[in-house]
Symmetry: C2
Subunit: 174 residues, 2 copies
Amino acid sequence: MKFCGHCSAPVSLVIPQGDNRHRYVCDKCDFIFYENPRIIAGTIPVFGSKVLLCKRAIEPRLGYWTLPAGFMENGETTQQAALRETYEEAYASPELGPLFSVCNLPKGNQVHVFYLAHMTVAEYGSGPESLEVKLYDEADIPWDDIAFGTVTQTLKRFFEDRKQGIEQLHHIDF
Amino acid sequence: MKFCGHCSAPVSLVIPQGDNRHRYVCDKCDFIFYENPRIIAGTIPVFGSKVLLCKRAIEPRLGYWTLPAGFMENGETTQQAALRETYEEAYASPELGPLFSVCNLPKGNQVHVFYLAHMTVAEYGSGPESLEVKLYDEADIPWDDIAFGTVTQTLKRFFEDRKQGIEQLHHIDF
């Protein structure tokens, strides 16, 4: 970031008065540009014993498998974002269940949240960001080809909890 | 937003190719500026039967009471943000408990998350953003002078759950 989005003057990285962190501040109009973590929202779509995964058609991690998830947009709730992404990437419309995992990625300035979701029918397909969408039993999950650590850890905990018959919220820090 | 932060050329509000939402895009360098919801993280600091509230020394809602909370920063986890804000606003260092509420404010492009927190000692004070910090029993909560709806609803659910002896995660949409 080099210029002010409001007046186009140069910005400087300084600690504003009363603050304790460096921010980009406009040299001319003094506007402070705050940068904050972004939310990625998604689901664990469950159909019977199986979980729905998407093979990514876009970078990053093109060709790797993921749970349907994406950036939460302004004007929506976390639940709406999770369901929207599930439809966009997997053409699936499951019933949303409880929040399953909150994954903090402080180095990447992201928080990934995954909701359990119940598929009442095996209706799904490949959205424009997916090469392939498929229901997987635990034994067949392509663990070496999962796109993101948050997805691997969320899936591992999901199968562990299911074996033990428990339902809980997981906080996973990376 | 009028100018590109990278090259200072004017930006236009358009739907980028392959997207379905309006974004600010630079007329010259084509950089896309995504705007996403921000996370406010805080705690419900509990000491015995009482809850710790802060009287705001800053706008918005100066003079009204709130749970300690604030914008999550880059480079931290939701739990770290909640504890940092609790110290900054109330000079309190409680032990963090489970996530209690996820409050979605789609009109304000915010998600407020509150963690239960256990105060082992009644040590607290007014940080620079607080006029006063005080432990309140339920009967004494200044309900008409609570700063934000997310705080009112989180507190109401906290006291309801405590009466019923249950522990659960609340999703509250505004």
